[in-house]
Amino acid sequence: MKETILKRVGLTKLLAIFLLTTVVMSCSDDDSVANLGNLQVQLELASELNDISLEGIDVSITNTVDNATLSLTTDANGSALFDNIAIGTYAVIASNVTDDYTLSGTANNVSVTIQETAVANVEVNAVNSNGGLVIKEVYSAGSGYITLFKDSFVEIFNNSSETLYADGMYIANIFGDTGMSGDTALSSVLTDSDYVYTDVMSQIPGTGEDYAVLPGKSIVIALNAVNYKEGSFTPDTQLDNTDATLEHYSIDWLEAQGRLGNSFFELDNPAVPNMTNIYMFDETNFFRLITSSASVVLVSNEASFSDSDIVDYTETGSTSTYKLMKISVDEVIDAVDILDNSGASEFKRIPSALDAGFTYVNADGAISYTGLSSRRKIDEVASDRFGRTILIDTNNSTVDFEAIDFPDKYGYNN
């Protein structure tokens, strides 16, 4: 892109010199005041933004009468002077794309009068390029023996500056061993890296605008919206999940299918809506997430699943077969691969296209009941720049995620 822009600038300069020469020649010929004016475009950064350079921004002006367009790039002060341009009304567009953000600003109905220098102050806004919904936290280690893994949750964060709706999106637990000793790498059995494979998947209910995620805010999908501080001897070490946005409940769903519903880890808080159950291979897997180190994907609401998406998974040396649902990587919005320990790279369960790395909560494994949680880091630069919390999303969880000692539910919301 940059190269193209440069080329374009070069061409414009040539054209400008040619025009200027022509005008000078014509002036000298007529020796009268020409119908020309100047337009100084001064870019101004929107108030909440910081640390965004206004130099070198493409500014183009368009004459509203003849649609003639002129372009310049801004100087170090963020200004660009269009001189000796035809008088009239112009629309000004400033735009620039970098790896981190997209910058844009417009000013309309800017009048350029004869032999005057009109100043157009254009407020430019910037949008971070890592926007959209991201997985902010995956907590499945369990915060104590009594609570077991009952307090696990997944938190979805809006990295964009706009309100987004999570309705219809899927949360899927990615199946596979986590890299403990004796484990089998999922990829050694299921080799097609165009898919990820799940044994438990549920869907956010709603018809389009029911589950709003405000910019810089998150929603929490809990296993159970239960207050585990209740009756606990050490309430500080426990979570109160009654503030979850959504929870899971599958007894009725399983039994309506003719399967065994079981109150094991299944509680229905009437105040918290339930996720829609989509797929559950093993009806005793009420944890939803692999305990301790769960890899999770957020799947587009446009995805749909059928019998033909079921694949068999049989480990070498095993006589038992798992029936897994495959999910095309194209339908995955965000993914994080969380494994048992720092040396578990060969057990990656999510293809590199979605997550180039992996993360873990404890370098040595042994995670159960530690309360450790995997949280996405804040992109400090972007957050400063845009004045709201923005999380790193490089599609590499090694970079993007960190282990924290205790879950930080809604921790970025304030």
Binding site: I146, Y249, R259, P270, I278, T321
Partner: protein
């Protein structure tokens, strides 16, 4: 003979049981009558002074003092007889007649009316009489090497099933029909001896010396010996030296000496069950193995200690799986005899052989023994007291402790056993041996709750048993030898399971009745306790009589007995608290009582005729037996048992066939209710006061009275070849176990009513109402059926080359090939492997596959014995030729399915593989053949004795620490246990050899 009095028609007309009882009542009247009769025949004659008289005068003296007798004989028969010297005193008639006629060539017949017929013998008759018809009185003395008399030596003529004990002077006497017998002499602490009477010239003064059973002897037997036994075919005897050599802590350790059994790593924290002649381990098979201690069978039929009635899971208590061998300690055991083949009809209520444990009798020093291995500790002390006029008392006490793992204290096992066995001469002069035995055993088995362990699953399974048995034998003139054994046992069982359930909150539902209930929730975590108190009571009474008849070249031995067993459980039952059954998929169980369960009673009678023929160089034996059992007051079962063997020189061929039955366990007949709970509605609000759950309980009451005793049919043929240089035994057998009890799943469809909230006010439970929608939800229950079939073909070989005398080296090879085909005649149910979206699962119905297991296993043992050092070493190579399991006749596809409405829909054969049933197809590798390649394991046992008889021994199982691996479905699997070692020290205190 007396059986003929009752015609076959009357048998069937009046009822078999009735008839048989009558036979035995008749028999017992006859015994009493017979005994009176004897006293008459053996009237005492008073001789007032020493005198010498003629035979005719002797008769006059007898007639003068006892008018009962009439003598019939040819005149002048006694003219040529020498005169008889009579001594002053009292003499019995028979002795007096013996004295008077001993030097003459006459035949005496005493009729029932005390008419004594005397006639001269032909020359031919005289020869026959010498060999066969003359009763032989044998008298002898038993001494130790220091010429001290040995008391309480058991002197047995096993061919005649009779025996006696030596008195305090070491003397014994017996009356035998002829002298072609072997007598066996055994005494605690001494090496058993066998004497061929035919080779002894003076039978009235046999002198036998028993040597102490020490390693300084030339030959010791440290392996299981294949023996010929009255108790059954294919019997293996394990004697004290062998028990010492394996450092047995309990009965299961010595069973490793049988062909086909391996040396297991000693671990006392798991129950041990017997498995005889089967390539698979199954409760049905173990349950059918009788464990009989000194003639009294240990019954576990009334063990009801199940945690969950629907699964019969007894936890640490073996329910419907036979005797836990850990409870049989060996501190006072002389020998263990294992009947692998057809058991004598004396033994019933079994279907897979028996283990006979014989206790020691006789004076002994304190034998203090300690076994130590990495996780197990056992000490025992045994002592035999000579009480002179009051017989002999043997006592033993043992204590065992095990911690399951060297690094963890989670598991524990503790047990102590006290045994007292008192042999009391009942009547002086009468050859009546009576034993009173009392055994008290206590075991405590469980899981500790470690303080740092948050998961709490405490288990404490205690069992205290008291067994009293009265047994003995005495001779009777008409019925021959009478044996009796009355034993009663009472076991106090207490199983306690305390689990801290962490996966709450659960809706609380502990209802004992079917219905739909509103309820609240448990806390996050709560205690779940199951407290099961059982008290099995067993009574077992057995009386048998054996007679002997000798005709020409044949010996007949008849044994007839009756038996009655009674099993009941008078325990209070199971108390379950916090037992919220909806915790798992399986049906749960709640509190219940055992009181209303009827007792299990078995009346049995049996007869066995043993016919032996003696030829010049051959010998035949035919055992014909029949056993009748009236089991559970409703099954009349006949079990023929027979065997035949023929011996020519050193080659014996044998064949046997037997049928046996094993009654179902009470826990199988009356397992109690199962509870199935399902949740209709859940409302787990933030405010605890608002919380509500609606739960339905369905009570499933199994009716298992239809369960039949299982049936076992064993056929075997074999030969023994014992030339000078070796001993070779070969047996082929086919054992069919039919109608064993196992579980078959059945589908239940239960209506689930859907509820909805009508109104919810703050601070109170919401008001709910059924929506009117009801749908059926499926649940499976396990139903017990006589569906287990196991058919085993097998070969057993033992090979003992002759001991190399020069070096005292011996080899022993035992081998067994077992091929068991196990069938479950039921079917299995499995639901769809996956469901997508709003579809419903179906329940596929599948044929059960046949499971064919093969075990080909041999043990080669090198026994190096150095008598001068009192040292013996055994090195065993366990050769696992093949161990495999494969499935036969398997189909991955169902033959039918149930839809969610419970409709049974058959799937035509051609459609089963259609994609529409893909969700019902079993996993591709469900029926994977599992097999190991050839591998070996080496065990080492050494033992050293001191001059005083103290011994020290050491074992190392898997001594080279060899763990071969093999490829299993692409994975490496390890074979053999890790190296394990153990020590034993046995000290004799007050042993006369150390004095």
């Amino acid at each position: 003979m007396k059986f003929k009095l009752i015609s076959a028609s009357s048998v069937f007309r009046k009822g078999i049981l009735n008839c048989i009882m009558r036979i035995f009542i008749f028999f017992f009247c006859a015994t009493m009558f017979g005994s009176n009769h004897v006293s008459s025949q053996n009237a005492e004659i008073n001789i007032n002074e020493d005198k010498v008289v003629t035979v005719d005068e002797v008769f006059k003296i007898i007639k003068a003092q006892s008018s009962d007798y009439m003598f019939i004989y040819p005149e002048k028969l006694f003219e040529s007889f020498p005169k008889v010297q009579l001594k002053k005193g009292i003499i019995k008639v028979d002795k007096l007649l013996d004295l008077a006629l001993s030097n003459g060539n006459v035949n005496i017949t005493i009729t029932e009316n005390n008419i004594i017929l005397i006639k001269e013998k032909s020359k031919n008759e005289k020869r026959t009489r010498k060999v066969f018809n003359d009763k032989v009185d044998i008298k002898g003395h038993v001494f130790d090497v220091n010429q001290q008399p040995l008391a309480d030596v058991n002197v047995i003529i096993s061919d005649l099933n009779i025996g006696t004990f030596t008195n305090i002077d070491g003397a014994f006497s017996m009356e035998l029909p002829h002298k072609n017998f072997h007598i066996k002499l055994s005494l605690i602490g001494y090496k058993a001896e066998e004497v061929d009477l035919a080779s002894i010239s003076d039978l009235s003064n046999i002198t036998i010396t028993l040597k102490e059973d020490l390693l300084s002897l030339d030959a010791v037997v440290v392996t299981a010996k294949k023996t010929e036994s009255r108790e059954g075919t294919s019997t293996y005897k394990i004697e004290s030296q062998a028990i010492k050599q394996v450092q047995a802590m309990n009965l299961s350790d010595v069973l490793s000496l049988l062909p086909g059994n391996k040396t297991e790593q000693v671990n006392l924290t798991d129950p041990k069950q017997a498995s005889i002649r089967s390539a698979v381990t199954s409760d049905a098979n173990s349950f059918g193995t009788a464990i009989i201690i000194d003639g009294a069978a240990i019954s576990t039929d009334a063990n009801m200690q199940t945690k969950n009635s629907s699964s019969l899971d007894g936890g640490k208590s073996v329910v419907a799986g036979g005797v836990d061998l850990r409870s049989i300690t060996l501190a006072n055991v002389e020998s263990v005899e294992v009947i692998a083949g057809v058991a004598s009809p004396k033994y019933g209520n079994l279907s897979s052989g028996g283990v006979l444990v014989k206790s020691k009798v006789g004076k002994s020093p304190y034998i203090v023994s300690a076994n130590v291995s990495s996780t197990n500790y056992q000490t025992s002390v045994a002592k035999g007291y000579e009480l002179n006029d009051y017989g002999v008392l043997n006592s033993d006490f043992s204590f065992a402790y095990s911690s399951g793992s060297p690094t963890e204290r989670k598991l524990f096992y503790k047990s102590f056993n006290l045994g007292l066995r008192w042999k009391l001469p009942v009547f002086e002069g009468l050859d009546w041996n009576h034993f009173t035995a009392l055994r008290i055993g206590h075991s405590d088995d469980g899981n500790r709750h470690e303080p740092e362990e948050v998961y709490k699953n405490e288990a404490d399974v205690k069992s205290t048993s008291y067994q009293l048995s009265l047994s003995g034998d005495f001779p009777s003139s008409v019925l021959g030898k009478i044996n009796y054994n009355f034993s009663g046992s009472l076991v106090n069982q207490h199983s306690f399971y305390d689990t801290y359930v962490l996966d709450g909150p659960y809706p609380i539902i502990e209802s004992l009745e079917s219905g739909t209930y509103s309820t609240v929730y448990t806390p996050n975590a709560f205690d779940q306790i199951r407290d099961i108190k059982g008290q099995p009571v067993n009574f077992n009474g057995m009386v048998n009589a054996s007679q002997y008849l000798h005709l020409e070249h044949f010996d007949f031995n008849f044994e007839t007995g009756i038996q009655y067993t009674f099993d009941d459980n008078t325990g209070s039952g199971r108390v379950a608290t916090g037992n919220i059954a909806h915790s798992q998929d399986i049906a749960g169980s709640r509190s219940t009582t055992f009181e209303k369960i009827p007792a299990s009673k078995t009346f049995s009678a049996y007869h066995q005729t043993v016919i032996k023929r003696y030829g010049e160089s051959s010998k035949q034996q035919l055992n014909l037996g029949i056993r009748y059992d009236n089991m559970l007051e409703r099954y009349n079962l006949w079990s023929p048992r027979m065997s035949f063997s023929t011996k020519h020189n050193n080659f014996t061929a044998r064949a046997a066939w037997g049928v046996s039955y094993k009654a179902p366990a009470m826990a199988q007949l009356y397992p109690g209710k199962s509870y199935i709970d399902y949740i209709n509605f859940q409302y787990y609000a933030n405010n605890p006061d608002e919380r509500l759950a609606v739960v339905t309980t369905y009570v499933y009451q199994p009716t298992n009275e239809h369960l039949k005793p299982n049936y076992s049919d064993l056929k075997e043929v074999g030969f023994d070849w014992s030339p000078d240089f070796m001993n070779f035994n070969f047996t082929y057998f086919k054992k069919d176990l039919r109608r064993g009890i196992n579980t078959t799943p059945e589908l239940l469809l239960l209506p689930k009513t859907v509820y909805e909230v009508v109104s919810a006010e703050e601070g109170v439970q919401p008001i709910i109402e059924p929506t009117g929608e009801v749908y059926n939800i499926p649940r499976t229950v396990n139903v017990m059926k006589n569906n287990y079939y196991e058919s085993t073909n097998g070969i057993e070989v033992t090979l003992n080359p002759k001991r190399i005398k020069e070096t005292n080296t011996e080899f022993n090879f035992r081998y067994s090939y077992l091929e068991s085909v196990v069938t479950d005649k039921g079917y299995s149910i499995d639901k769809s492997a996956y469901v997508i979206g709003d579809n419903s699962v179906r329940y596929g119905v599948y044929e059960n596959a046949l499971n064919k297991a093969i075990r080909s296993f041999g043990t080669l043992t090198l026994i190096q014995h150095i008598p001068s050092l009192r040292f013996v070493l055994t090195l065993s190579a366990e050769l696992n030729f093949k161990e495999s399991t494969k499935y036969i006749g398997t189909s991955l596809y169902p033959f039918a399915y149930y839809d969610t409405d419970g409709n049974y829909i058959e799937i035509p054969e051609e459609n089963r593989t259609n994609p529409e049933f893909a969700d019902l197809k079993k996993d591709e590798n469900t029926y994977t053949t599992v097999g190991t390649p050839f591998y070996s394991n080496f065990n080492l046992q050494i033992r050293k004795e001191t001059k005083q008889g103290h011994s020290f021994s050491f074992y190392a199982n898997n001594a080279p620490w060899y763990n071969p691996t093999y490829n299993y479905l692409g994975n490496r699997r390890k074979l053999n246990n890790k190296l394990s070692v153990g020590f034993n020290i046995t000290i004799l205190i007050n042993n006369k050899s150390n004095q």
